[in-house]
Symmetry: C2
Subunit: 360 residues, 2 copies
C-alpha cells in the first residue's frame, strides 16, 4: 500500500539517530513538538492549525525518558516485523503485544497511544502508514460517487448509491486505499447523527440536491475526516457540516474544519479549512422557535472554553456562543421535526445552503 | 414493505377498543404485560424468555392514565399518516413531533420510547413495522453470503465478500427487507469489538473457516440481533458470540441468545437460543495467562446481579462468575494479542470451536 515503505524508513531513521548519539558517548535524546492548545498556531499557507515552536525533550537522563526511548525502539521493531508479515494491528493490540517486552511493557494504553502519536510527529507520517488501526469504526457514505477500493481481497469498484444497501458504503480504516473514479455531486454534507443521516437519505436529499451524504457518527474518526478532506481537495467539492446546536457539536465541526488539538500534526491531511457550518445555531433556536433543552453546567463550561479556543476566534462564533450563554439553551438537529419530517430537507437546509452560496 | 399494513390494522384496533369502551359509557383502560426481570419466564416451545402473567392496567381513571391514552391516540394517528406518506421516523423525531400535540406533548423521550414499546406488546408487531427507526446504527457483515436488499431506490444484490470494501456490508435498519440468496458458510461468528472484527477479517478467518463475521459493536442493535436470528433459523447456521470477558460482555451474549429484559416481547424475533458463547471466560484468564484488569466496584455489582438473572441460571455460568469474583479480574478479547496477532485465529478460536462441535 501507499507510503508504507517510506514511513518505515523514516521510523528506522529515528533509531539510527539514537544509535549514533550513543556511539558518540552522548546521552540519547529526542526533541518533539509540545501538544497543548497553547502551542497551536494558524498556518497561513495550508490554512490549518498546526503545532507552534514549543518543543519538549525526551532524554535518557531521566529514568522516565530512558524507558520512553526503550519502548520506542521496541515499537519500531514491532512495526517493522508487522509490515514484513503484511499485517496490521489496533492501538489496543499494540498495548497487549508489549506484554512480552519485559521492562519495556506499557503500563496503560494511554502510553502506547501517545508513543504512536510521537512517531507520527517525528516522521510526518500517519499511523495508518505504520498499519496501526484505530478501534473506532469508519462511518458511511451515500451519494453520486463511484470509488475503487484496494482491499486485501482484490480491487472493488462501488457506486455509493447503486451498489450499496440503504446503510450506504462503509468507509474503510485506511482511506488512502480508495480512489475516486467519477461523480455527479455538487457538494458534500457531513451529518452528525444517524437519525438525521437516515432522514436525508429517506427524503432523497442526495439525489435531489446532488449531494454526497457522509455520516460523522458524533466526533468523526480520522478516516472520516481524511475522506472529507480528499473529497474537498481532489474533487473540488464544497463540504458542509450539519450538527446539533451544542458545544460538543461545534467541536465536531472544528475538528473537521480546523483539525483537532490532539492531532494538530495531521491537520494538513485531515482538516478541511473551507468546510462550512450548517448545524443548528443558537440564533436558530430563536428564529425557528425550536424545542430546546437547558444547558447543563458542563455545557456552560464547554462553551466558555470555546470562547478561549483560537479555532473559534471569529465574530460569528463569539456572537453565537454569547447568545447561547444568554439563552441558556441548546437544540438538536432532529428538533426540526417539530415542523414535520420534510422541513429539514424542503426548507431549513435549502435556505441555509443558498445563504452560504452552496446552492445557487 | 412486509407486515406494515397488518401492523397498522392492529394499531387501529387498539383505538377501536378504547372508542367502544367510551361509547358504552365505561372509563377506557388498557391491559399490558409488566416489564421487569421478575416477570420474564422461559417459554419451552420457542426456547426464549418472554413476559410472564403479571399485567399492569393503564386506566383513564387517573390523570396520568388518561394522558397516556390520549398520547397513544396521537401516536397511532401519526403512524397512520406516516405510513400513508411512505415515510419513516426515528424515536427522537417522534418525540419532537409531539411538540405540536398540545396537552398530549411528551415531557421527555423516555415516555415516547416507552409508548412505542407498549404498542409493540399490544400488537405483537415490531416498531420497524410501524416504520419507527432506532437512533443506533446497524453493524456490518463480511462473509460468504449473497443477499438481496429491497431499498427505496430499488433492489440491490450484494455478495458480502465480493461486492463490499474492507468495511463490509452495512446492515440496514429493517432487516426484513433483506432476502438471503445463497451462501457458502458453515457458521456465523458475532464479534463484540471493532478491533477484533478487523483482526478476523485481516487474518482471512471468514474465508479459511467459511464463517460469516458479524460485528456487534458492543450491545447489539435490534437489527443486528434480528439478522443473527434469521441467519440461524433460515439458513440453519450455528451462531457463536465472541466477546470480552466481563459482565457487560456476558450481557451482550445474553441479549443475542436469550433476548433482553426490556424487549422480552420480541424475544421470538430477536433471540437465538442456540447461540454459543465463545467469548473470553474467567477460566481463560488462568488457562491462557491473559493480561487482565482489576474488576471495578461496578463490575462486581454487575456480576452479582448476573447471579440472580434467570437467563444465567446454569452450572457453566455460575461457576465462571464465581471464579471471576474470586480472581477479581477481567480480560478483553484483544488481550490474546499477547501471543501474537495470529493466535486468536490460529489457536484460540479453532480450539474452542472444535470443543463446541462447530468445527469438526
Amino acid at each position: 500500500m501507499k507510503y508504507e515503505r517510506e514511513a518505515l524508513a523514516s521510523l528506522l531513521k529515528i533509531l539510527e539517530r539514537i544509535y549514533d548519539q550513543m556511539s558518540r558517548g552522548e546521552v540519547p535524546e529526542i526533541d518533539i513538538a509540545t501538544r497543548t492548545k497553547y502551542n497551536i498556531e494558524f498556518d497561513e499557507k495550508s490554512e490549518v492549525w498546526v503545532y507552534g515552536d514549543r518543543r519538549s525533550t525526551r532524554s535518557a537522563k531521566t529514568v522516565r525518558g530512558a524507558y520512553m526511548l526503550l519502548r520506542m525502539a521496541y515499537v519500531i521493531g514491532f512495526l517493522k516485523e508487522q509490515l514484513k508479515a503484511n499485517k496490521s494491528s489496533t492501538l489496543r493490540e499494540l498495548y497487549y503485544i508489549s506484554e512480552n517486552w519485559g521492562m519495556a511493557k506499557f503500563d496503560e494504553q494511554a502510553e502506547s497511544d501517545r508513543l504512536i502519536e510521537d512517531l507520527e510527529i517525528l516522521t510526518s507520517f500517519q499511523r495508518e502508514h505504520f498499519r496501526i488501526r484505530p478501534e473506532e469504526d469508519g462511518a458511511t457514505v451515500i451519494g453520486p460517487l463511484r470509488i475503487r477500493e484496494n482491499t486485501r481481497r482484490g480491487i472493488r469498484e462501488i457506486h455509493c448509491q447503486e451498489d450499496v444497501g440503504e446503510g450506504g458504503y462503509q468507509i474503510p480504516v485506511n482511506v488512502d486505499n480508495i480512489e475516486f473514479i467519477d461523480h455527479d455531486a455538487d457538494f458534500v454534507i457531513a451529518v452528525e447523527t444517524g437519525g438525521m443521516r437516515d432522514r436525508l437519505v429517506e427524503n432523497g436529499f442526495d439525489e435531489k440536491f446532488r449531494a454526497i451524504v457522509v455520516h460523522l457518527k458524533g466526533q468523526p474518526a480520522r478516516s472520516t475526516r481524511r475522506l472529507l478532506k480528499r473529497l474537498n481537495t481532489e474533487l473540488g467539492l464544497p463540504v458542509v457540516v450539519f450538527t446539533d446546536g451544542d458545544p460538543w457539536s461545534y467541536r465536531i465541526y472544528a475538528s473537521v474544519a480546523y483539525g483537532s488539538i490532539k492531532a494538530a500534526h495531521l491537520s494538513e491531511y485531515l482538516a478541511t479549512p473551507s468546510a462550512m457550518f450548517v448545524g443548528i445555531r443558537p440564533s436558530d433556536i430563536v428564529k425557528y422557535d425550536l424545542p430546546s433543552d437547558k444547558l447543563t453546567d458542563k455545557d456552560i463550561q464547554a462553551l466558555k472554553a470555546i470562547l478561549t479556543d483560537p479555532r473559534f476566534d471569529t465574530e460569528f462564533w463569539r456572537s453565537e456562543i454569547n447568545l447561547q450563554l444568554e439563552l441558556g439553551k441548546k437544540s438538536e438537529q432532529q428538533a426540526l421535526a417539530k415542523y414535520g419530517l420534510d422541513y429539514v430537507t424542503d426548507v431549513y437546509l435549502p435556505e441555509r445552503l443558498t445563504e452560504l452560496g452552496v446552492l445557487k
